[in-house]
């Protein structure tokens, strides 16, 4: 018997290389044991050229996919990106695009290595692997990873991976992000790092399978071909780079890029933050009582706490701790420890590592304490559970973490880097489209929302400081070709805002009318798990935006209204009077509408809410208030009640004016009112404590606290310590 020769460096197996890689980091604290990075530094121009060539290949690959794909997610939203990896699955560089997947793509590669694919499955030049299982790595099952090894003279020298969000994963209707599913089998098609092609060609048996299993097989397969084209293009460019720069240089320089970024990231943390402890909490609501699931025990509304603690250590490391997170549940939004890394990646890359050099090194200074087993973020019953949509609570977590990072920047004086983020939710559908094909659909934008204020200006309106796909869903006209609806409104909603000295961005509600479908079912699409409990995103004296709403508006008699040429509803207007103004029924469907049949003329609306304002609203400049009034971004009621500004409108000139002296009086009176209305915290604490002792709070909240206390004795002790509850107290 001769010893088997591995496909890695010097005949090593990938598993050996991975073990060595981890050992070197463990021993030295430096990536791959590089304590003395010098290759890039010796000739910086050459180093820059080398990095630029890699980045250019990734960006060109991304654009290649967009040209091949037929999916609006790829062509319009550009929800895809590419990364280049070391043989062990460590990210060297990532293309433009959503910055979530730096580690997740690599974790898929590591999973294959650890499962001994090299010997038991085989890894050959020209093989394509795909994966979409958040249990291995990923944020939701709709994200499909296409992975291609890169060989040089029979040695595997790296990997290239593309990730694309798919419009159809064969999940239970309706949806690509299904909600009416609680068991794993209903999540849709799972690919667990499976080989779907070889010798640079997609396998025909795979094509047959997709053709039979997915309603949108053509879109799915075109996306695979787009990803293959991109991956091959990048692979060939990497080979050209190796031939020009030399293999030794390639190997050393790619690893130094990671170590260099690790060092830079620690330097950025020490430059921009303040060491210490930062805390907040996310509440994740799961309204499952009315979801039509076969596993009936799932029919229970419940709420789970996700406390977040970020410790910025004097060493420059960040530690994230979710101690106190409640239990997993029968819903598709259970997180996985791997998925948390996606949230971490998008947060730090876009706030700290925004110089185009982000890679695994950006994440090495971050420690995520493994969430308690059996918790929402680490369920152990993973084989039974649906995990298709961990995205929802995790988006809330990373929006909150951005808020906490923002506080740390603010304390250090970098107020311009302070902001926070809030995602949204809306409708998705399944049914017959305009051309008679039955398939899942997302009802276009859940987005058009406003991000949080910064410490130096208002949040951008209808956009995002953070580039996530929701902030730009692309061309409405293209979406109208894919979904049997017409978007009938484009108007800023002043009531979406989070008030503050600097306010959040203002959101635009999505208002679409169903048109030309024979049969259609709608249900929720989730990018958040917040509903009745609004997120804690007010920065200092700023308020978080209010509740967001998924609405179904149904006219009493639409044909007659059209026949009589009466106006249709194009705007949602004031949130307290919509039912009075709409000639029909307004259904406030909550966070996760259970599947509902939809009909011609129904209006689906996402009444968005923005993230948070910053600072006391009564300190807002009157010039900013006047501008907002002129631009329809603020109502007179808001100017008077939230900003305490004495404003008036001239009907002749159509201009707003602010009476500065009267405003000063209003603001002084508001300060007086607060001092009179506010009570000492001790007094409030005693009243609140009494309610807890008597269990006089909502049963869902008691169950929520019980769930967290059950998993975490230390969290239970903190609750008891804060409320000075007896040792034998039980929630």
């Amino acid at each position: 018997m001769t010893e088997r020769k591995g496909i890695g460096e010097s005949g090593k197996t990938l598993k050996q290389m991975l073990e060595e890689d981890d050992e070197l980091y463990e021993a030295t604290g430096c990536y791959h044991g590089i304590t003395d990075p010098r290759v890039l530094a010796e000739d910086p121009i050459r180093g820059e050229l080398f990095h630029s060539r890699i980045m250019a290949s990734l960006i060109a690959g991304r654009e290649t996919t967009r040209m091949v794909s037929g999916s609006p997610f790829v062509r319009e939203v550009a929800e895809l990106c590419l990364g280049i990896y070391t043989p062990e699955g460590d990210n060297i560089a990532q293309s433009t695009g959503i910055q979530i997947h730096i580690k997740l793509m690599g974790d898929n590669i590591r999973w294959m290595i650890n499962k001994n694919y090299e010997e038991e499955v085989g890894i050959n030049d020209g093989d394509f692997f795909i994966s979409n299982d958040p249990v291995i790595a990923g944020m939701h099952a709709a994200d499909v990873y296409d992975i291609l090894p890169i060989f040089w003279d029979e040695e595997l020298i790296g990997w290239v991976s593309t990730v694309i969000m798919e419009m159809d994963i064969g999940a239970v209707s309706p949806g690509l992000m299904p909600l009416a599913n609680v068991e794993r089998g209903t999540d849709g098609i799972r690919f667990c790092c499976e080989r779907i092609g070889s010798k640079d060609k997609l396998n025909r048996d795979f094509e047959h399978k997709i053709d039979l299993c997915l309603d949108m097989a053509d879109i799915f397969l075109l996306d695979r071909k787009g990803a293959m084209a991109a991956n091959i293009r990048v692979r060939e460019e990497i080979k050209r780079i190796v031939s020009e720069f030399g293999l030794d240089y390639y190997k050393r320089a790619t690893r130094e890029l990671i170590e260099e970024e690790r060092r830079n990231q620690i330097a950025r943390i020490r430059q921009r933050m303040i060491p210490g402890r930062y805390r907040s909490v996310v509440s994740a609501e799961f309204p499952m009582a009315n979801q039509p699931v076969a596993w009936i025990p799932a029919n229970k509304d419940h709420i789970r706490l996700i406390p977040i603690q970020m410790d910025v250590l004097p060493s420059g490391r960040l530690v994230l701790d979710f101690e106190g997170t409640g239990e997993w549940g029968w819903h598709p939004c259970n997180g996985t420890p791997q998925a948390i890394w996606g949230a971490a990646s998008v947060s730090v890359v876009q706030t700290l590592s925004c110089d185009g050099r982000a890679n695994l090194g950006s994440l090495l200074p971050i420690d995520i304490k493994k969430p308690t087993p059996d918790s929402l973020l680490n369920p152990v019953q993973i084989k039974k559970l649906a995990t298709s949509t961990p995205w929802a609570p995790l988006l809330d977590v990373f929006g909150m973490w951005l808020h906490m990072l923002g506080a740390a920047y603010y304390l250090r004086g970098f107020r311009e880097e302070t902001f926070n983020y809030r995602s949204s939710a809306g409708w998705q559908m399944a049914g017959y489209d305009q051309t008679g094909n039955k398939r899942p659909m997302i009802a276009a934008g859940t987005g058009y929302f406003g991000p949080g204020a910064t410490g130096v200006c208002d949040g951008v309106d209808c956009g995002g400081w953070l580039a996530t796909p929701e902030v730009d869903m692309g061309s409405v006209e293209v979406w109208e070709m894919f979904v049997p609806h017409m978007e009938i409104s484009r108007r800023f909603d002043p009531y979406s805002v989070g008030y503050g000295r600097f306010r959040s961005g203002v959101a635009i509600p999505v208002v679409s009318m169903i048109h030309r479908s024979q049969q259609l079912v709608g249900s929720g699409a989730l990018g958040t798990a917040s509903d009745g409990i609004i997120p804690n995103l007010g920065q200092f004296g700023g308020y978080p935006g209010g509740r967001r709403n998924t609405l179904l508006l149904r006219y009493d008699n639409l044909p007659a209204r059209m026949e009589n040429r009466q106006p249709l509803t194009h705007e949602l207007g004031h949130p307290a009077t919509l039912q009075e103004r709409f000639p029909g029924r307004v259904h406030d469907c909550g966070l996760m509408p259970a599947p509902t049949e939809l009909f011609e003329g129904d209006i689906l609306a996402n009444f968005n809410a923005a993230a948070g304002g910053l600072g006391d609203p009564i300190e807002r400049s009157t010039a900013a208030i006047r501008t907002d009034l002129d631009q329809g971004l603020c109502s007179e009621w808001q100017a008077r009640n939230m900003y305490c500004a004495d404003v008036s409108h001239d009907g002749q000139t159509k201009e707003w004016t602010v009476d500065e002296a009267a405003t000063a009086q209003l603001r002084a009176a508001k300060r007086q009112e607060r001092v009179v209305r506010g009570v000492p915290v001790k007094e409030w604490w005693q009243t609140s404590r009494k309610k807890l002792i008597e269990h006089a709070i909502d049963a869902k909240l008691l169950e929520m606290y019980r769930s967290s206390a059950k998993l975490s004795p230390s969290f239970a002790q903190e609750l008891k310590d804060f409320w000075s509850l007896p040792d034998n107290y039980a929630f």
Partner: protein
């Protein structure tokens, strides 16, 4: 990389022209920012105690008689920085529909059975210092407990006198309240 005192003042006040603001956002960060920031804040407060650490709009940790206390711009003192300053504030808890709808009308109103919006005011000047939206019954959040001594000693290289042990002293206060 360094910015003038005037530019930073205008940046913080929100009146710096956008092209300059964008430049500050997008360029590499300035190493001397913290000291200039503290100097900017010091000019705007009503007291002479030295600001050691900004804590948010209107709140700073200052040195006073060998201790570090949280102080409002108006001069009101909230106590040791290691206990949550909110315990010594005034609070308005928006815990019913009427009070919540003053801020969030109609469909925007959170569920008052589940959600509480707490507003913390300075008892002296009436500034709104923090808004907290949490599930009913959740402890008051201790948003930030800065490690002041490590910061000065290890990151700035100029240790402060009278170093203090970093610990959360909030529960000592609530324990006393429960007696």
């Amino acid at each position: 990389m360094s910015y003038s005192k005037e530019d930073l003042r205008d940046l913080y006040d929100g009146v710096l022209p956008w092209h300059k603001t964008f430049e500050i956002i997008s360029k590499p960060k300035d190493d001397d920012r913290f000291d200039k920031y503290v100097a900017f804040l010091q000019e705007r407060v009503s007291y002479s105690n030295k600001i050691l650490m900004p804590l948010g709009d209107h709140l700073n940790v200052v040195a006073k008689d060998g201790e570090r206390i949280v102080k409002c711009d108006c001069g009101y003192e909230f106590g040791d920085w290691r206990q949550n300053w909110k315990l010594n504030a005034l609070v308005l808890s928006r815990d019913d529909t009427a009070k919540l709808q003053e801020i969030y009308p109609g469909l925007k109103c959170p569920n008052p059975d589940l959600c509480e919006v707490r507003e913390f005011y300075c008892p002296n000047c009436g500034s709104l210092l923090k808004v907290e939206a949490v599930p009913v019954g959740y402890p008051i959040i201790f948003d930030a407990l800065p490690d002041i001594d490590s910061f000065y000693r290890e990151w700035l290289g100029r240790p402060l006198p009278d170093e203090k042990k970093l610990e959360d002293m909030t529960y000592a206060v609530t324990k006393n309240w429960g007696k």
